[in-house]
């Protein structure tokens, strides 16, 4: 399978390390094998060089000429409605959830644990009921857990 995402002008990347961790920006130019010039006028990332190791390539790409100024990048960004596209993506959703989970306090973590327990019990009960119905309708049934 050929590669589909490349380090190229206009490629939107997700920053995974450094002070702008968790934000997206767009590649403007390749400086060398390891570093690129990035700009994120609509996401709070200033135009700067960034190591490729600290960014992940996303499926999004915006169109602006190679070495375009911040103004051109912003125009292309708004035209593509990138902020909205990013928020709607599964990646952004997962990232937000991860952040939310990391910021939970002790009591909230405890409540989450309890909620998951309740949900899992309901789920197994439904599953077991279905299992009994389809595979052993008249025989002994698999016991269901107490909800």
């Amino acid at each position: 399978m050929p590669f589909k995402r490349f380090v190229e002008t206009g490629r939107v990347v997700y920053v995974v390390d450094g002070p702008y961790k968790g934000k997206i920006c767009s590649i403007v130019d390749c400086i060398d094998q390891k570093t690129v010039l990035v700009d994120g006028p609509e996401s709070g990332v200033p135009r700067s060089k960034m190591r490729i190791a600290q960014i992940h390539l996303t499926k999004f790409k915006i169109n602006f000429p190679y070495n375009g100024s911040t103004r051109t990048v912003r125009q292309a960004w708004i035209k593509a409605d990138l902020n909205k596209l990013w928020i709607q993506s599964r990646w952004a959703e997962k990232a937000a959830n991860r952040e939310k989970r990391a910021s939970l306090g002790d009591f909230e973590r405890f409540k989450l644990k309890r909620a998951r327990k309740v949900r899992n019990k309901i789920r197994t009960n439904v599953y077991k009921a279905l299992f009994n119905k389809t595979y052993c309708p008249k025989k002994k049934t698999v016991k269901t857990a107490k909800a």
Partner: protein, 296 residues
């Protein structure tokens, strides 16, 4: 080595003794003879106020003088009444002596301290004074700002480690006063050091809780379980059970009083049911949970 040891044990007669030593030895021998013959005269005890007492007696040593302060005053008064001069002035050693220094460019003289001072360096005129540490009760207490009354804390050490408790207040010694409440997790009111505790974000508004005033550091002072057996008491034949700690009735009643108020506060919490379960459950770490990366 051996010869010197022998010499120490038996004084060598051929060796020359110091004249003072000879004198004292002769005195000792004379006294010994007199005691044997029964002709030893006992020295009359000096009555300090009899008039024969001298100032020398009173000023025998620093402590002597201190002990006889009332006597000293009486003597002074007596001397004053009789118009005699009181031998009060004592000679003090000079703390600094000016010594001549030989050599051309050495400034001729130098001030030398007769008593070597602490932290002394010849170039220092006045040695630096070290600040006294002060009493423990006057020490400054630094309590983490997250540890406010009503905070839920996770205990990390001791018999109750892993349990969650309510912080009631901080005491004068800098220790934290906490309670389970006792019905929920069997933690009584007790003191913990702040270093043995994790403060959580979760807080209860316990401003309405009134803690009895007598609950302070003294209240938690330990009492001895074993008392030394009295001399007259005979030991019992049976093996006695070792005494264990039993809380007093006062402590039990105080516990109930405070806990009832804290429980009332929890009942008003919007997540009341979860909160009760939360306090009665233990803290633990699961896979991929690292305390230094977690929020509490």
């Amino acid at each position: 080595m051996v010869s010197s040891k022998v010499a120490a044990a038996k004084p060598d007669s051929s060796k020359k003794l110091r004249p003072s030593k000879v004198k004292s030895l002769a005195k000792y021998e004379a006294k010994k003879k007199a005691r044997a013959a029964g002709t030893l005269k006992k020295k009359p005890k000096q009555n300090l106020l009899s008039g024969t007492a001298t100032w020398k007696v009173v000023y025998k040593s620093g402590t002597w003088r201190f002990v006889h302060r009332p006597t000293e005053n009486k003597l002074k008064a007596k001397a004053k009444a009789e118009g005699k001069p009181t031998n009060e002035t004592r000679k003090f050693k000079k703390s600094i002596v000016v010594k001549p220094i030989k050599g051309e460019k050495n400034g001729e003289t130098r001030e030398v301290h007769t008593v070597k001072r602490k932290a002394y360096y010849p170039t220092l005129k006045t040695p630096k004074k070290h600040r006294a540490r002060g009493l423990f009760k006057n020490h400054k207490r630094n309590i983490r700002p997250t540890l406010t009354p009503g905070t839920i804390v996770i205990l990390l050490t001791g018999v109750h480690k892993g349990k969650r408790a309510v912080l009631l207040k901080t005491l004068d010694t800098g220790l934290l006063l906490i309670t389970g409440p006792f019905i929920l997790n069997a933690i009584p009111m007790r003191r913990v050091h702040q270093g043995h505790v994790i403060a959580t974000k979760t807080k209860l508004d316990i401003s309405s809780v009134k803690i009895p005033e007598e609950i302070d550091d003294k209240y938690f002072k330990r009492t001895l379980l074993k008392k030394k057996p009295k001399k007259n008491e005979s030991k019992s034949l049976f093996v006695q059970k070792p005494k264990t700690y039993r809380p007093t009735e006062k402590r039990k009643s105080d516990q109930k009083l405070v806990d009832a108020q804290v429980l009332d506060v929890i009942k008003k919490h919007k997540d009341k049911k979860s909160f009760f379960l939360y306090l009665s459950s233990m803290f633990g770490l699961r896979n991929n949970q690292y305390p230094h990366r977690m929020q509490f």
